[in-house]
Structure formats: structure tokens, C-alpha cells
Amino acid sequence: MLTFSEIILALFLLANLALAGSGRLTHAIRLVAAQGIAVGALPLLLWDWQSAGIPECRLFIIAAVNALVKGVAMPMLLGYAVRKINTKRELEPIISFTLSRLIVFAMIIGSFAIAARLHIHETVASELAVPVAFTTMGTGLLLIAARKKAVTQVLGFLVLENGISVFGSGLLIEHGIIVELGILLDIFALAFILGITIFQIKRTFSSTDTDKLNNLGDTHLMHPQRHHHRTHA
């Protein structure tokens, strides 16, 4: 079972690389969905079935809800949003796909280095889980920072959350079911609100390009043409 979890984690890394290089929105959403399902399954995969026996049903519930929310509901929500706002299906990169891949690759190396500094010595799985978590989080942040569309930023955020979940399940950190569900609910609600906001942004700005979302700031004096304090007639 442990080897299986290792394979899953390795696939996670590959998914990150793929996400960094993915040029199509639907493709990226599918990758995130796959990651979500894997995250849901991870606690069960990491469970020490031989010695600890059959886990409590709590674990199953969490795994199921996790997989459902992260692997199904949220990607569907995003896909719906993409269709609804009728945006172009390309991810518009600020950093090119190749460079993004290289960065993720560098992150993988970096994550292993950081993990080594942290002295993890519990399970083999966790030894891999921590760097994978780091990389996934990094990829998420990269997607947020280096892609133009608002939808992509939500996507990146989901990847970031996936990374944190990997970490949590990799180290078998137990929060209790309420907290676990609370966290999930929060993230889901967040994704939901973000989705709604994207609609509103689309309606108000007639674009979801985040380049249009930079009217607020402190550079008015340097760009006087952008100086528009709200004055209603």
C-alpha cells in the first residue's frame, strides 16, 4: 500500500509539472480535479492497514467528502464558470510555459532540500509527502502569480489547497471531523464566492483579465491619466 501511495505522490509531482505547462483551461481544470481526488484518497492510502486495522468511519467520510468537493464539485464549478463567462479557453501566461515548468522543477529540488532541513523521520510516505506538498503549494502560487485570468487564479488557489491537504494527510495530522469539514466548507465557500465575483467582474469590467484589475493603487501621481477618484455628478 505504501508503494502505491508513493506512486500517487509521484504522480502529484508530474501533475504539477503538467499544470505549469498546461496551456488550456479545461485541461488544467481536469488536472486539478485529478489532484483533488488523489488528495481525498491519500489518507486512506497512507493508512497502515496491516497494523492499525480498519480505520474509523470518520476517515472514510473525510476522504469521501474531500474527494467529492475537491475532485468533483469545485472543478465542476470552475468549468461552469468558464463556460458561463465565455472566456477564451487559453491560459494567458505572464511567465512562459517552459519557464514555468523549469520553475516547478526547481521548486521540486528546493522542496526536497527544505524537507531535508526539517528532519522528517517518521514514515517513508511522509518523507515524500512533505516535499510534494511544498511543490504543490509552490505550483499553486505560481499559477496565481503568473497567469492573467481570474479563473486561473482560483485554479491556482485550489492547487495551493491541495498541496496543504497533501501535507496534512502525509503527516497524518488529525483535526477532528468538525474542523476538517469546516476547512473544507470554508474552501468551498471561498471558491463559490470567487466564482460569483468572477461573474460580477465579467459583468462590470467586461473581461476577466486581471490586468484590468489594477486601478487601485498608489501610483496615481506617476500616472496622472489613471487618476480617477470617484466623483459622481
Binding site: 527544505i114 486601478n215 501610483t219
Partner: protein
């Protein structure tokens, strides 16, 4: 006991009272609507100054009350500076003043933080900056020529006469926290104060000479007078630092005594002068000396009182301004007489700075009196000016009477304070002053008797070398009186000349004129460029908040990585 406290309290009460009397009439017409605001700030200024005095008594135990009172004083006097709130110059002045006060408190906070024997020198320099920002030590004096013209005259009088010297009170209190055993420090203290005082005394009055705005002139003259006080204190500390001078306690006593006497003299004289400037402003609507002239005939009481006080502040016998300066001169000479190189150098620096500032002060006050009160009125408003309501010049009279009373009082004080050292010289000066007055009266009587027709004078037009009908435009303006001096120091003063072109026909250029403006060099060459530079720099940094979410997130990522690296590395 409480000698220092008493000396610094006297101006608060007297100048405060005189200014209050003056203010009842100074604020007139439309402005009376703002009476509550004025009196609120005025009274709180006076009270907070009293609080500073009280807090100073306990400064060795706890410095917090002093700091609070100090800030309160700054704030309430800033309210006075901002009185004429719709003017742009007033806004600017208020801002500069508040900044100066706040920077002072910041420096004082650090002063008291560092106030232990290991870091005493640093604390002392910070104290000089902190209190110096209030006193107007160069280059921290820049708020004075901004705030004084902006504030109503009674407020200027209180601020200049009573509040500024409180900086010395604070400084002396700070120095008294540590015991006298720290003798090596006296040299630092002495040289610092002497250097700052010399620069302030000469530089301040030099800029006063170049001003055409009466209140700016008076403000720069405050820088000068505070410089003189600093010189007195500086040479006092230097004398104390010298180990092989037998009379050092007496000489130092004379130095300190002279400085303290000068504080009081300055308070009364400058208080009266600011009130006088206020009276002129009220009656003529201008502070520009070039637009006044001939006011002595129209405002005889104000003019006479202003003249007497101005000559007094120039340090001329028989007025009281001379006594304090004389004490400092005598001690400077005494230091030279010891032959000890340090003291000789210090004595020379003090004496030359005093002499130079004295000479320049004559020029500055001759300009002020001549420009405002003498000659012919240069504008219609000046020609129509009338004497102020009685209580305005009565307020000035109160201060003038106090000035006269200062002559015997300061001699008694110095006799007590300096252990009768060189009292003869001071008494002699007073007697000589008396003799001068008596002789002058006698000569006037002689003239009366020798003149034919019982001294009835004939009036004739001014003899202008053949030109028989001199007009107001032909008389020397205030700017013109000091033009040679200002021109000589032009590299330092950086006076700007404006040629006001004539509007009428070219053959009758009646309205052409030259106006000059001299900015404070510290403000225009240091503070303003420095502040502008910093503001520009900061504004460039505003690019970091340019609205781009990507940039923000990049910054977050970098910051997290830095924190993580720091966490893992440590």
C-alpha cells in the same frame, strides 16, 4: 532653590499677561468670531508652559511628565500659529512648526532612553537637537521664521519671549540630572553650545538684516538672541571644565548669570517688539517694512515703545539688553585673561561672535525702526494708519517697564549668582547708563537755553541736496538701508531680487521698485531639498503598490520564502 524655575516662569507670566491684554484688541473685526478658539489655545499654551516648568522639577525622577507637557505646549501653540487658518502660508507654517515640535520630542525620547553614563554624550547631542528644535539652534531654527509671521502677534510674543527659552530650561534640567562629577563632559557641552551659539548668533542676525518682513526679522533675531544665551552657557561650561583656573566658579557663575539675564531681557524686549509688530499689522495691514514708513508720527506710542525696545535688544547701553551681554563679555575677557589656550580660544570665539552679532543687530534694528517708523509713509495705508487702542500700547508699556526694572534687578541677581565677581563693572555700566540719560537731558536743556526764541524750532522741508520737494519714493526703504551689507554677504544669504516693473508711462516710472526676498538658508538649502528628495524617493517606491495582483502575490511569495529561510537557517 528653584532659581531656574523662577527665572523661566517670569516670562510666562509677564509676557503672557501683556500678550493677553494686547490680544483683546489685536483680534478685531471679523476675527472676533474666533475668540473662543484663540483664547482656548492661548490659555492652554500658557498652562502647558507652566506644566513644563513643573515637570522639569521632577525630570530626574521621571521624564514622562516633561515630554507630555512638551508635546502639549507644542500642540496648543500650533493651534495659535494656525489661527488665521485660511491662508496658505499659515498652513505651511503650522505644518513646519508641528514637524519641528514632533521631531524634538522624538529626539528627547531617545535622549532619555540613552541617558546613562555610558551613552551620555550621545544623549547630550540628542538633547541639544531635541531642545534645540524649540530654542531655534541652527540648523533647527527653520520653523521660527515661518511660524512667527503666521501666528497672531500676541502668540508670537509669547512663543518667542517665553516658550523658546524653555528649551534652555529643558537643556539645563537635563544637564542637572547627572551629577557634577562628570567633568570631562563639560568640555563637550561647552564647545557644542559655544559653537552652536556663535553660529546662531551671527547667522541668525545676518538673516534678520536681510529680511523685509518685520516679524521674520524679529524671528531671526530670536535665533540670534538664543545664540547669545547659548554662548553664555557654553563658555560657562568651558570655564567649569578647566581645572586650573582659580576663579572658575565665579566666572562660570557670571556666564550662566549673564545667559539667564539675557533670557529675561530677550523675553521682555522681544515680547514688546512682537506686540509692536502686531500693532503695526493691525493698523496698516502689512508686515512688509518697505510698505510702511512714517508711522512714528501716526502711532507715537507704539513707535516710541518699539524704538526703545529695539535699541535695547540691539544691546545698547543704557538699556537692559546690554547688561546680559556685558556679563558674557566680561566673562569672555576673564577667560582670555587666564591665558589657558582652550579658554582663550573660547573667549575669543564668544567675544567676536557677540561683537559681530551686536554690530549686525544695530543694522537689523535700524532697518526695522527706520523702515517702519521713520521717514515718509510709502503707501496709502501707512499714511492713513492711526494709533492703536490704548490697551495695545499699554501692554507694550508693561513689558518696557519690566525691561527698565531689569537693569537693577539683573545687577542684584548677578551679584548674588556670581558671588560679586565683576559686579563693579556691571554697576559701572548701570551708572554710566544713568549718566548718559542725565547728560542727554542736560544737553537738551542746554540746547533749549542757547537756542534763540526759547527753543521754538522751525520746520522746513527735508534738504535733499538741492532737490527741494522730496517725496516718499525718494526716501531710503528698509531694503535699501541694509543693501550694502546684504550684498556683501550675498553668497551666504542668497537674496533674490525682484524687479517690479512700472505700469505707468516709461517717462514717469513711479511704481517701479526692487523687492528682495531672503529665504532661510537651512530651509531652502537643506530641509526643503532633503524632504523633497525623501518624498520623491518614497513616491518612487509607491510602484510597489501599483495595483497589480501578480506583483502583490510575488511579494508575498518572496517574503514567505525569506521568512522560511530565516527560520530554517537559525
Amino acid at each position: 532653590m528653584f532659581l531656574l524655575e523662577t527665572i523661566f516662569t517670569i516670562p510666562i507670566i509677564t509676557v503672557g499677561l501683556a500678550a493677553a491684554i494686547h490680544a483683546t484688541a489685536y483680534i478685531h473685526g471679523e476675527e472676533r468670531r474666533h475668540f473662543p478658539r484663540f483664547w482656548g489655545f492661548f490659555i492652554s499654551t500658557i498652562l502647558s508652559m507652566a506644566a513644563v516648568i513643573l515637570a522639569g522639577i521632577f525630570v530626574a525622577e521621571c521624564e514622562l511628565p516633561l515630554l507630555v507637557a512638551w508635546e502639549a505646549m507644542a500642540l496648543s501653540s500650533a493651534g495659535l500659529v494656525a489661527f488665521d487658518s485660511t491662508k496658505k502660508s499659515v498652513r505651511k507654517a503650522t505644518w513646519i512648526y508641528l514637524l519641528a515640535c514632533h521631531a524634538g520630542v522624538a529626539a528627547l525620547l531617545l535622549t532619555f532612553k540613552l541617558n546613562c553614563s555610558a551613552t551620555w554624550t550621545a544623549a547630550f547631542f540628542l538633547a541639544v537637537i531635541g531642545f534645540g528644535l524649540k530654542i531655534g539652534f541652527p540648523p533647527f531654527h527653520s520653523w521660527l521664521p515661518e511660524a512667527h509671521p503666521a501666528a497672531p502677534a500676541p502668540a508670537s510674543a509669547v512663543m518667542s519671549g517665553a516658550m523658546i527659552p524653555l528649551g534652555f530650561y529643558g537643556l539645563l534640567k537635563f544637564l542637572s540630572i547627572h551629577p557634577m562629577t562628570l567633568t570631562p563632559n563639560f568640555e563637550t557641552v561647552g564647545w557644542t553650545l559655544l559653537a552652536i551659539g556663535a553660529v546662531g548668533a551671527v547667522g541668525g542676525i545676518l538673516f534678520a538684516v536681510a529680511q523685509t518682513n518685520l516679524k521674520k526679522l524679529l524671528a531671526f533675531s530670536s535665533v540670534e538672541n538664543m545664540g547669545i544665551v547659548a554662548i553664555g552657557l557654553g563658555i560657562g561650561f568651558l570655564t567649569l571644565s578647566d581645572s586650573n583656573c582659580s576663579e572658575k566658579i565665579h566666572i562660570a557663575g557670571l556666564c550662566f548669570g549673564g545667559a539667564l539675564v539675557h533670557v529675561l531681557n530677550h523675553a521682555f524686549l522681544k515680547g514688546a517688539l512682537f506686540l509692536g509688530a502686531g500693532s503695526i499689522l493691525r493698523q496698516t495691514g502689512t508686515l512688509d517694512l518697505d510698505k510702511m514708513g512714517g508711522l512714528m508720527r501716526r502711532m507715537p506710542f507704539t513707535g516710541a515703545l518699539f524704538t526703545l525696545n529695539a535699541i535695547g535688544l540691539a544691546g545698547m547701553p543704557p538699556f537692559n539688553g546690554f547688561i546680559g551681554e556685558l556679563a558674557i563679555y566680561i566673562s569672555a575677557f576673564a577667560m582670555i585673561a587666564t591665558g589657558d589656550t582652550t579658554l582663550v580660544v573660547a573667549g575669543f570665539v564668544a567675544a567676536i561672535a557677540l561683537a559681530l552679532s551686536g554690530g549686525l543687530a544695530v543694522a537689523a534694528y535700524a532697518k526695522a525702526i527706520g523702515g517702519a517708523f521713520l521717514g515718509l509713509p510709502r503707501t496709502a495705508k501707512a499714511a492713513e494708519a492711526a494709533e492703536t487702542p490704548r490697551r495695545m500700547w499699554i501692554a507694550m508699556t508693561i513689558l518696557t517697564i519690566l525691561s527698565v526694572a531689569m537693569i537693577p534687578a539683573s545687577i542684584c541677581f548677578l551679584r548674588y549668582y556670581a558671588n560679586a565677581y565683576a559686579t563693579d563693572a556691571l554697576t559701572g555700566a548701570a551708572i554710566a547708563g544713568g549718566a548718559l540719560v542725565a547728560l542727554a537731558v542736560a544737553l537738551i536743556l542746554v540746547r533749549r537755553f542757547t537756542c534763540p526764541r526759547g527753543g521754538i524750532v522751525t520746520k522746513s522741508p527735508t534738504w535733499d541736496c538741492g532737490y527741494h520737494a522730496p517725496t516718499a519714493r525718494m526716501t531710503y526703504t528698509a531694503t535699501a538701508i541694509t543693501q550694502p551689507l546684504v550684498d556683501f554677504f550675498r553668497k551666504f544669504l542668497r537674496t533674490r531680487k525682484y524687479i517690479i516693473p512700472f505700469k505707468g508711462a516709461p517717462e514717469d516710472p513711479t511704481d517701479a521698485a526692487i523687492a528682495t526676498e531672503t529665504d532661510d538658508i537651512a530651509l531652502s538649502s537643506f530641509w526643503r531639498p532633503a524632504f523633497t528628495y525623501i518624498a520623491r524617493l518614497f513616491q518612487r517606491a509607491h510602484l510597489l503598490q501599483n495595483g497589480s495582483l501578480h506583483l502583490y502575490i510575488l511579494i508575498v511569495i518572496l517574503a514567505v520564502l525569506t521568512l522560511l529561510a530565516f527560520a530554517l537557517a537559525s
